[in-house]
Symmetry: C2
Subunit: 458 residues, 2 copies
């Protein structure tokens, strides 16, 4: 009997699952519903469209509905899933254009509804020129507003924020960032975040202003357009536009009233085969809970690379293969002009919060042979669990080649590597690519020596 597979969500995981299901079985009936008027695009590219590095927003579209139709995958745009009834094996779909509703039956359901920007409780949030960034249309709207603005305020100082700062600085706006933590880029350990924040401030020479340990509480407008941001500490920041980049929340409200098990942060719980607690329902992407590969704790790190892998893995399990998804490391990278910020695994503060005793080493070293004219520094922090001696995480930042080192550590952590082994890694060497002894091995050596000398370390 031919399976009828319904997929909810058109971001990364849904289209990936659809494409993989089709490759696995030409007979599946595949219908994908999305509440957007477009599917399968790279939201991660939007800051570069806003900046102007990517001239045409259509370049961010991975595959069009027509391309999916050619593969006999039916794409239903502007159709929002508002209810799931696991017992009846159907979903309730609302047509956002006509406001009509209808039920759609399924044999297998894939929930890939993603996440949306978290909007903090700020007074007058409905003023014009207040944006968040998630969809293609958000990117277009922010870009249009930017071209008519001189001052912008960004609420939040994480990965999306730092990419937007670059975009706005490149377009000659004055940028104010309001960040509740002591430094921006709070997913790094504080001494690393501090270096990042200092770099951003120094490099932009007065064009960027960062308000730390404060929050936006109110917007003031004029003619319905935002003109001022008032903070908890009473600062008033003049602005022509605001972008809220304060994190995301999963799109799971449509599941309220069902008995599908929830995960942390209101996500959907799944097992390591991407199966939900309800029979015949899988879930993948930003809407599902993850498992931290190191601590084995539930976590929620919503990232496009993971969504792709989960969509694929869910499709394989639906097709009677055995695909196990063993969790995430939280590997992430971003850049601020030529400055790279990359991390993997757990930070020192995260490890300590989970009760681990860790040993760390932070080195600032040249990224290639010191005599090469394009040599740059990187600052690298390595985190190792004291009792197991397993590599737990790394952070690397700088104008030098930082991301290569984090890829190397991701590979080590993913394979359960102890410092004793990591220390001896045979990494390729040539003057344009690294010093004779890689900064990673310098840091590893320091940790090894600390462990051997039994000193108090961390």
């Amino acid at each position: 009997m031919t399976k009828k597979i319904v997929i909810i969500g058109g971001g990364a995981a849904g289209p990936k699952a659809a494409a993989k299901l089709r490759r696995e079985n030409p007979d599946y009936i595949i219908d994908l519903f999305t509440d957007e008027d477009i599917i399968s695009y790279s939201a991660c590219g939007l800051p570069y469209f806003i900046e102007g590095i990517i001239d045409d927003i259509n370049k961010l579209i991975v595959r069009t509905p027509e391309q999916f139709e050619k593969q006999n995958i039916h794409i239903h745009l502007n159709k929002k899933c508002i209810k799931v009834e696991p017992q009846k094996r159907h979903v309730l779909i609302k047509n956002l254009k006509t406001e009509t509703e209808k039920t759609v039956n399924y044999d297998i359901l894939v929930l890939a509804t993603g996440a949306r920007p978290f909007i903090p409780p700020i007074e007058n949030i409905a003023l014009k020129n207040v944006f968040s960034l998630r969809k293609l249309s958000d990117g277009i709207n922010i870009k249009n507003a930017m071209l008519n603005s001189k001052k912008v305020t960004i609420i939040g100082g994480g990965y999306i924020s730092i990419e937007l700062i670059e975009a706005f600085v490149a377009n000659h706006l004055e940028v104010t960032v309001i960040e509740p933590n002591k430094y921006i880029m709070n997913t790094f350990d504080p001494e690393i975040s501090q270096i990042i924040q200092n770099h951003v401030l120094q490099m932009t020479k007065g064009q960027v202003y960062i308000l730390n340990e404060d929050r936006a509480v109110k917007f003031e407008g004029k003619n319905g357009i935002v003109k001022q941001v008032i903070t908890q500490k009473g600062k008033a920041i003049n602005t022509d536009m605001v972008v809220i980049a304060a994190g995301v929340v999963p799109n799971t409200e449509f599941l309220n009233g069902t008995d599908l098990k929830k995960g942390c942060y209101n996500t959907i719980w799944v097992n390591n085969h991407l199966k939900t607690s309800a029979s015949a329902i899988f879930a993948a992407g930003d809407c599902v809970e993850k498992t931290n590969q190191i601590t084995k704790n539930p976590c929620w790190i919503p990232l496009g690379s993971i969504a792709n892998k989960e969509g694929r893995c869910a499709a394989l399990n639906i097709s009677d293969n055995d695909c196990s998804f063993e969790g995430v490391l939280g590997s992430a990278v971003s850049r601020f002009f030529s400055f790279t910020m990359s991390q993997t695994g757990v930070t020192e503060k995260e490890a300590k919060a989970k009760g681990y005793e860790v040993v760390t080493a932070t080195v600032t070293k040249k990224d290639k042979a010191g005599y090469m004219p394009d040599v740059e520094n990187i600052t690298l922090k390595l985190v190792v669990d004291k009792s197991s001696r397993l590599i737990f995480g790394a952070q690397a930042i700088g104008c030098g080649e930082a991301n290569q080192r984090i890829n190397t550590v991701s590979s080590a952590i993913g394979n359960g590597t102890r410092i004793d082994n990591f220390l001896n890694l045979d990494l390729p060497y040539s003057p344009p690519y690294s010093p004779a002894i890689d900064p990673l091995l310098n840091a590893a050596q320091i940790i090894f020596d600390k462990l051997e000398s039994n000193k108090e370390c961390s």
Copy 2:
């Protein structure tokens, strides 16, 4: 009692051992003898000095004899070790300036005599303007000759050759390369070497000429200066200078007559603590045999990064620590202008020659998100052992970020990773750094699918 430690050799391993010994113990009496008039320099940087990227050759000097003397490490320049007498615990040292000899006693001896260019049997090899590249003075001599030359011939097409081609092309010379194999860069699998060779030829548009499957047999000169290279196949190549880059041989002849155990290719055998077969004698660097970490076979892959590690490890063992050196992967990287060539582990041809059945995947993919304006391709080959499913090696080339991927694979191999695990690596993703699914994972997936489908694969 204070140990008297004698080190023979001033390249990478010797000075590294000396510096580490001093840090371990301020009381050691450390004497380092070298037959050169300089120590502790980066030979790997010489092609960039010749090219002109590095303006001052002194930048290649890591530490001067004076800096060592400040640490109470005695450097003896122009002093060549001509004989070792393990039973008497002394060495015979010849002063190359005065031609006098004297014996020097040791408690511990470290042999770090390195390697020198292999000079093939070519008639009239003593003509002027015939060079090889190893020492600083070689770099200066080649550069001076280059500045007065229009045509250069390079004997051999390996890593040093490709860096010299760049240097000569950048200085507007016509370059002829004579390579005995079907393609240059023969340490890669042939289909990868072919891409490299094609790239070199296309990019240089007639400025580089490669003679494959041929050898130089004779030089013809005029006024004592080389003017023509005659090949085995009878070609005559007009030239103003020649650089021999046909591999290296270990400097171990001074050990003839002793009963020190030799390794493959006339190297010095050492155990995994860098101890030779004679008591109180350690050896490190390019002059010693290595162990291939994957095949566990003896091998000889002389590289600066390894020499540094071995020098350090030998020093630790001399200082009564326990440092085990577990072998090499043969990780190496080089560039030709913006084109990177990087590899680690064993190639398909090497694996097959050793009797392994391997499964491979070769992909040509974008190195970052396809819509980024500076996106470039890389070609990546992954080699996996069929029976153990262990990652055995990888080769990555291209104008895109190839070396990051090889570092990642080096880390995986170094930790004994199976394809099943590698497939799920959580690598950092952001449009300027990689596609949402890294080329490494594409290649891994292909191999996994081949293994699962039990097809004939490789």
